[in-house]
Amino acid sequence: MVCALTKGAFRRYLFLNLYMIASVVVSLGRYQVLEHSGYTSAAYLYFYYYSDAVLTILLYFALTSLYAHVFGEMHANRYVRLGAVVLLAGTAVFSYAVVQQSSARMMTHFVVELSQNLYFVGLILTYLLWGAIMKMRETRAQLVQLVLSLGVYFSLFAATYALRNLYPSMSSVFMSLLQVFGFVLPLAWAYAFWKLSSDQLMSPARLAAVSR
């Protein structure tokens, strides 16, 4: 956020920066609850998962704003917004359908499920956006790096949540891993804002996993 402000990219990537501000606020809130109630308390657990769901939804909209950047010249912003809301609603309905059997603490289960599903939906959407960037020969280096780092972040989280579901007994290990992966996005975005100027271009053909 500081890098974006310094380099004059705050308003251009407003949703990305709003997400970063929200992350800082949530981290401070978590620390406060942790200090008052302790790591194993129900209050911390509730605060952690509910705030995580809010952050995931914000990140989902940050991703949508990147779509708006890529498809901006096609004046497709309205459709992008509509599509994003419909997909978010669809994910929420799917998550509800998954947890509706568990009667106890259904809301909490729903929030956790929604968060996990949104990471995977976000990953798929980032992959589609990456496909569109390659297809449309997008050359803005900063935008490309923002999308790629978001892709790495979503994949790391989606893979870790999947592993946690596969091996529930090792849940604490995977939760610790998530805290480490949390650094990926701020560092990569800071690099993109600080080191790359908004008008710097790069050849998209050089970025494909297999040369074209």
Binding site: T126, A141, A159, L166, M202
Partner: protein, 133 residues
């Protein structure tokens, strides 16, 4: 079952994004010409080869590193390691894939040479500052 599918998809996408991210870092340095001095030190004059990477990396570690390229060099180091694994397994049986991994390894070596050039310039600047003060 569902978690397994999500895990496999996520790891596949992660690899794809990581490769592209590393390539975006390499692309920035690919057009930068090497000075005569760095060409002599690294032995890279007509074009880099993947086998140069380890040697250039050793030279790179001899120079004081600047914080700005430390993370990038590490990422490319990880990418080079991944390419080596790929080269000695899957690419062994497919000539096209082998050619691609060789090209990528050479690009990594060139990236390291460009980083070396930057570090030499960084060291010179530091030395000049010390002498001035």
């Amino acid at each position: 079952m569902m978690a397994g599918i999500i895990f496999v998809c996520s790891v596949t996408f992660l690899l794809q994004f990581f490769v592209s991210y590393c390539r975006s870092l390499i692309a920035a340095s690919a057009k930068q010409p090497l000075s005569r001095e760095v060409q002599d030190v690294t032995g890279i004059s007509d074009g880099a080869s993947g086998d140069d990477f380890a040697r250039v990396l050793q030279l790179l570690h001899l120079c004081p590193d600047s914080p700005e390229d430390r993370t990038r060099v590490r990422a490319i180091g990880a990418y080079f390691g991944m390419l080596n694994v790929f080269r000695s397994t899957v690419a062994k049986f497919t000539p096209a894939l082998r050619a691609w991994t060789d090209f990528e390894r050479a690009q990594c070596a060139y990236f390291a040479a460009v980083a070396l050039e930057r570090r030499i310039a960084f060291s010179r600047d530091m030395l000049a500052e010390q002498m001035d003060s």
